[in-house]
Symmetry: C2
């Protein structure tokens, strides 16, 4: 069967469809309000950065079943004809509120709120989580790399170790949104307008009879400037070769862009290579480091005084290696005008449709409040309308969201900018919300406990 | 720009393309042999399970640039017209050898060997790693869940936390290959023929005025049998409601399939719920557990005597949470008939084109040898031809690969079946391979060290 996997509405948990069939049978098609939020921050993290909204809206706008998909649904033995007919007409026609991409946010704060007839809002659950959880995870980790790198160049390098193609592409987008300078993922340029860059692989060196010959050939073939990889055989010998080539190129008016280190003690190597390049008068050639880097490795290299101008951050960023998933959920908070509350052990939700209010002091984030919609609170509102009746409202460009993210990181309270765990940022649950939760608990108290 | 992201050849690192341009310029188009392998097992792991070959072959067979992609390549400023013309004609026309899907393998053993003109083999690097690393990671972890579950039902549940759509779909496939019974990912049925199943979400309960009403409605709407979710409000009260409903359904000749637990102390809950169901004469109703499970949690629940018949394994499996990427590489081992060796600190490769030989004793794996192709060794050969001149050879079905995986797990040496780290499985590097590596090191010794 040929389907374009990532845009198929069948890319969802089966239970969304079996629940829809039951909702339809019962006529449970009133307005539902679902909120998507992170229950708690991953260990050691001080904040999150919202990302993936553009893809979430793409998904909702395009949500429909193709004839081929409907035919499979008819024949799989799980669904009645009337329900499949209903699915053939199904479109997402609801409203969405969201915290804009690039915004810093915290646990318990709804990142997205969907208001739609129950079946439409329910069906979207799996894919909305799939889209927003991952991009937010990457953006949140990328922001820590940005804070650690202190203005040095950061390039996302993780496609080969990312979990499939969509992950590789979205990791590039989320990292750029959070402040990276570019990515190695070629497709990110035509699709998202993200600057792309790259160096060379060890195989390029190995395919040549000598390393010096490989460097020369690569520099000649890439007229925009080259970054030479030094660690295929011996870093110091390679640095000497690169310096000789750099001198020849300089004489032709074509500067060597830089060199890349990818293994071993890169702080020590970088100091030796920097000396070699400087002695040759190649001060403008940058040292670029890669190889299992993350925010801690960047910090440690810089703390060791490594004269590194740029970092390629790959596997550990694109797989969010220290927190490969967030404890995120998409929960029904209101149905047919009545607030709802899940009370599972350790997973209780705050009921009702909510807004997040943020206060600032001295241009820094100074405290948030999660309140019921309409409940008065101080500050400005984070959740903004982004879709009405199934159509997206005008959205910021990726560049605008990226500038927004940069200002957000600048506005983080000083302890929150540290890679070390800071005291929790104050997120208050409003009095109205607490009172509502208590009232619902009282109403729903188990019979046996009464 | 509209492109189908996951099937675009631009879903690759930019350097593959800039290197190709240099290769073309220099006429470096002789036959290259690249091997894809894992440098070392993730901490605590005793073996890996090969997965993803089918998608890797799909990729190689379909590799071509569309007019839209060529137009972007022409206009991006990085590539010469002659090179873009060359790309317009580029197809993968090489050979591939691989360890079949479902086979247990170890570090240093080539999982895939590509033999093709250097540009074709080079271009494929990024996406081949992207495809094989992830599916192998999931299959390897899923196999551990299979070993821990001792024959109980296992269903893959991770789409919502997987890293994008392709990851969710491939996690379902890799888990099934490794012995899972099914997945919640609907699309995995029409695409791969994988059994799909599901229960109900908390939101379904919450949308109803009472839990008992929700259970009843769900059971009526899903005539194939239902699994009721018990932990939305209070597990014991829900169990009593489920038992009452189960009795009514039984009287109509429609058995209750089971119940699901998703939070809290599930071992204790399972024992109480089992008693409730048994007292009602619902012995055939299964208890299904989910919620942050992995191989260790399954082992611990079973060790605590939890009467659980099935497990939904989601986030931690679909993100390979304890080892979200493997230290895998795709390296040039031979070019134009000459073996090549990368010598980077801690990342040196074994040169030349290789074969993996496996010996068995008493129907158990007893030791492997990585040898040069053509070098005599004992046992049978793991690397099999799977593609010739760009066309795949007849391949096993997913069901056949799954049966193969089951036999492989049965044939693991006893210590390797443990979740705890076992003594390393013996993988010998052949004398011929060691001699070749030593000879290449001698030839390539850095000038200054001579």
């Amino acid at each position: 069967m040929t389907m374009t996997p990532c845009s198929s509405p069948l890319l969802t948990d089966l239970y969304e469809l079996t629940m829809l069939q039951a909702y339809r049978r019962e006529g449970l098609t009133d307005t539902a309000v679902f909120e998507l939020f992170v229950r708690r921050l991953p260990a050691g993290r001080n904040f999150l950065v919202a990302a993936g909204l553009a893809q979430a809206l793409d998904y909702l706008e395009a949500l429909r079943f193709s004839p081929e998909e409907l035919s499979w649904l008819s024949s799989c033995g799980l669904f009645e004809r009337e329900f499949v007919d209903y699915l053939s007409r199904l479109r997402f026609a609801g409203s969405v509120h969201a915290i804009p991409e690039g915004t810093v946010f915290f646990a318990d704060e709804p990142l997205l709120r969907v208001t739609a007839p129950l079946p439409q809002a329910q069906l979207a659950e799996t894919r909305l989580l799939n889209i927003l959880n991952f991009q937010t995870a990457v953006a949140s980790k990328a922001a820590r790399c940005v804070l650690a790198a202190g203005g040095r160049t950061l390039v996302e390098f993780g496609l080969r170790r990312a979990h499939g193609g969509e992950a590789g592409l979205w990791a590039a987008r989320a990292a750029y949104l959070a402040g990276f300078d570019g990515t190695s993922v070629t497709l990110a340029s035509p699709l998202f307008g993200i600057p792309i860059s790259g160096t060379m692989a060890h195989s390029f060196i190995q395919a040549h009879e000598s390393e010096a010959q490989a460097f020369e050939a690569f520099a000649r073939a890439n007229s925009r400037g080259s970054t030479l990889l030094l660690d295929t055989y011996d870093v110091d010998q390679a640095a000497a070769e690169a310096a000789q080539l750099g001198l020849r190129l300089k004489a032709e008016g074509r500067p060597l862009r830089g060199i890349r280190l990818d293994s071993g003690d890169m702080a020590a190597q970088a100091k030796r290579v920097r000396r070699e390049l400087d002695v040759a008068g190649l001060e403008s050639a940058q040292i670029f480091a890669s190889g299992n880097l993350d925010e801690w490795a960047i910090r440690d290299l810089l703390a060791a005084g490594a004269p590194i101008g740029g970092f390629g951050v790959g596997s550990r960023l694109a797989t969010c290696a220290d927190a490969p998933y967030f404890d995120c959920a998409y929960k029904l908070q209101e149905y047919a005008g009545k607030p709802r509350r899940k009370r599972s052990e350790g997973k209780a939700t705050w009921p009702g449709r909510k807004q997040v209010w943020r206060r600032m002091a001295d241009s820094r984030l100074s405290g948030d409040e999660v309140a019921l919609e309409g409940e008065p609170a101080e500050g400005f509102q984070l959740l903004q309308p982004v879709m009405r009746e199934g159509r997206r409202l005008p959205q910021p460009t990726l560049e605008e969201s990226r500038r927004h993210a940069r200002r957000q990181l600048e506005a983080l309270p000083a302890p929150g900018k540290s890679l070390e765990p800071a005291p929790p940022y104050p997120v208050r649950i409003s009095d109205g919300l607490r009172a509502l939760a208590a009232r619902l608990d009282e109403e729903r108290r188990p019979i046996k406990a009464r």
